[in-house]
């Protein structure tokens, strides 16, 4: 059986923070156009692993392959350039700016250049933001609303729009459904399905196993900086939940012989 090259492959990723071993040799594969769920207890290393992929952290060891090619990701800009975008756990929005400014943050459109000074094309950015919001069926009255005053669900949506605004290939979402109302969670899940339908490859981190169950094709469980489970998402929700929880709390471990010191 010949498998297509995965869009992302991380091998033996290691990361320490001072004395804290956040990741001790994790492998991760993301196939093209799949949704991969990443779960684990608090401090398991989920965010750290994904921040390494998005260029926010530099790993202490390990390799990353993007579409089969070995790649160094040294900064968020590097990750962006190869089409990897991340929606951070704290959203990383500039609360003092409006919706359009946040969507285009760091990637503003220029109308002209005066030497080193680039003049923004505000109308283009606002129009484009409106189009992007419509594309993902997001309901925000004005692209000129200051982000500070929007609801949690709207802010989450803006962070997702920003991540997916520039034809990216891989979208990482760190707990996109945390602290949201049931209706807002529904919207985010619809959004993920919509993105998948549009060809995106997605990694989603969540503590809400029912959300993982609903959107993911496959899943990985991390525990104390190690991968303890990798499996397709199948079966009934209750069985799925019971099984995954066993891995999360450490009652079961598929890779017990590896990564132990």
């Amino acid at each position: 059986m010949i498998e297509a090259t995965p869009i992302v492959e991380m091998r033996n990723i290691k990361k320490n923070f001072g004395g804290v071993r956040a990741l001790c040799g994790v492998d991760l594969v993301l196939k093209r156009n799949e949704v991969l769920g990443l779960v684990g207890d608090n401090a398991a290393g989920k965010s750290t692993l994904m921040k390494i992929l998005s260029g926010a952290y530099i790993p202490d060891g390990g390799e990353i392959f993007i579409e089969g090619k070995k790649t160094h990701i040294a900064s968020p800009s590097d990750a962006r350039r190869i089409g990897i975008e991340m929606v951070y756990q704290d959203l990383a929005l500039a609360d003092n700016l409006d919706v359009a400014a946040n969507v285009f943050l760091g990637r503003e459109a220029a109308s002209k250049k005066l030497g080193p000074i680039s003049v923004m094309d505000k109308h283009y950015m606002e129009q484009e933001t409106k189009r992007l919001l419509d594309r993902l069926k997001i309901d925000i009255s004005s692209v000129r609303s200051i982000v500070e005053r929007l609801s949690g669900g709207q802010r989450q949506a803006i962070a997702i729009v920003r991540a997916t605004a520039f034809n990216n290939k891989v979208t990482i979402m760190d707990e996109p459904t945390a602290a949201l109302s049931v209706a807002a969670i529904r919207k985010v899940i619809d959004l993920i399905n919509e993105l998948k339908a549009q060809g995106n490859s997605i990694i989603i981190i969540s503590h809400r196993l029912e959300d993982i169950y609903e959107v993911s094709d496959r899943m990985i469980v991390l525990r104390q900086g190690r991968k303890v489970r990798e499996c397709p998402v199948i079966g009934k929700l209750d069985e799925f939940r019971e099984q995954v929880v066993a891995y999360i709390i450490g009652a079961r471990d598929d890779f017990a012989e590896r990564g132990v010191d």
Partner: protein
């Protein structure tokens, strides 16, 4: 029925606009009230053309500092060193012309360049070393104070004999010769005022059309017209008052230039957008590929350059460089920035606001001087206004949450 409903809608929208811009409007109202009060208490002396003209010339060097300080405050820092840096650079300008015999058109750009380079020092300490700006620039405050005393040690006050240089803060733009109507009125100033109003109206209409063509919401037409009329009346009044004395001073021209350039940068360019982003959420800015370090360097460097400009304006005003030049300028500039709507939590502040804030503080000093109020009470009144501005900021901020 229909008109009544649109009337209600109008009031609702007017209210919303007022609430959304309450800090800005608040400032204009405060300035307006101050002007009225002083005009009454000084029996019109405050609003006289001569006094307003003087007020601009006296306050210009604080106004330009306030603009730079607002940028620094937007990125969540502070710069205490700019007062004595301004004094020191004023002395450097004097020495450049008097001792080095440099022509004025070389001395001025040189001093501005020195200022921009000097600003890199706190930029380095803050951005690279992670030292709090308060401490880093306090070191600058001490250092530049010493440097200023060294520079003026041998000669004491350095007299500047250069007429062109001294015109910067004492001279006025020439008038068009040979027009006999309106004697005693500065015609060119009036004409410029009218031009500004026309440009503003044309630009506003153009922008409104463009926004409409993109199907974006614009101000309701009544509000739009109200805004045009209001701005036109204000600009017209200023031009009329100034033309009654000797017209537009060079200081006013410099302030206008600084406003135009900085306002353009802050509202229209990538750089301005990134400065606001760094102030709003530095981590988010960094994750978006914006270099917080680079922005910090640029903002402190611009502050240093404006300190140079301020030093030049002050030295020109006194026609000399003195040992105490620049004393407390930094505090006046910080106060002006906060009164002008900058927020201590960062990310918020406007160039136009800082200028208004500077004029509020200058008007207070000037008006109370005219009234003969003792300096000790003056400090207390200014303290109250500053505290009021900050309390207002916190109060309106919490309400929005």
């Amino acid at each position: 029925m229909g008109t009544r409903r649109s009337g209600i809608l109008f009031i609702k929208e007017a209210k919303e606009m007022l609430l959304n811009n309450i800090r800005e409007f608040g400032m204009y109202i405060v300035l307006f009230v101050i002007i009225i009060i002083f005009t009454i208490t000084t029996k019109g002396a405050f609003i006289s053309s001569r006094n307003i003209s003087n007020l601009l010339n006296q306050g210009g060097y604080i106004a330009v500092l306030a603009v730079g300080m607002t940028l620094v405050i937007i990125i969540r820092h502070i710069d205490l060193s700019v007062g004595y840096l301004s004094g020191f650079l004023g002395a450097v300008a004097a020495i450049a012309m008097v001792s080095w015999h440099l022509p004025v058109y070389i001395a001025i750009p040189l001093v501005l360049l020195f200022g921009a380079i000097a600003g890199l020092a706190p930029g380095f300490l803050v951005a690279k070393m992670g030292i709090p700006a308060f401490v880093a620039t306090l070191a600058g405050w001490l250092g530049y104070r010493g440097a200023l005393q060294l520079a003026t040690m041998r000669t004491g006050t350095i007299i500047i004999p250069n007429a062109a240089f001294n015109a910067i803060s004492n001279g006025y733009i020439p008038d068009i010769p040979g027009i006999s109507i309106l004697p005693g009125v500065h015609k060119l100033t009036l004409i410029l005022g009218v031009l500004v109003i026309l440009l503003f109206i044309i630009n506003s209409i153009k922008d409104r059309r463009k926004t409409q063509s993109y199907n974006f919401k614009v101000l309701p037409v009544e509000m739009f017209i109200l805004k045009l009329v209001f701005v036109s009346v204000v600009v017209g009044c200023i031009a009329w008052v100034l033309s009654g004395y000797r017209g537009l001073s060079w200081t006013a021209v410099i302030i206008l230039g600084v406003i135009l350039i900085y306002n353009f940068i802050m509202t229209q360019t990538f750089l301005g957008r990134h400065i606001y982003a760094v102030g709003g959420n530095p981590e988010a800015a960094e994750l978006s590929g914006i270099s917080v370090k680079k922005i910090t360097y640029v903002v402190f460097s611009s502050m240093g350059m404006l300190a140079g400009l301020s030093g030049i304006m002050f030295a020109s005003r006194l026609q000399s460089a003195t040992t105490t030049a620049g004393q407390l300028f930094e505090l006046d500039a910080i106060a002006a920035a906060f009164v002008g709507g900058a927020s201590a939590t960062g990310g918020v502040g406007k160039v136009t606001g800082s200028i208004i804030g500077a004029f509020v503080m200058m008007s207070l000093t000037n008006g109370m001087n005219l009234m003969g109020i003792d300096i000790s009470y003056q400090y207390i009144v200014r303290a109250a206004v500053l505290a009021g501005a900050v309390i207002f900021d916190v109060a309106t901020r919490n309400r929005k949450k």
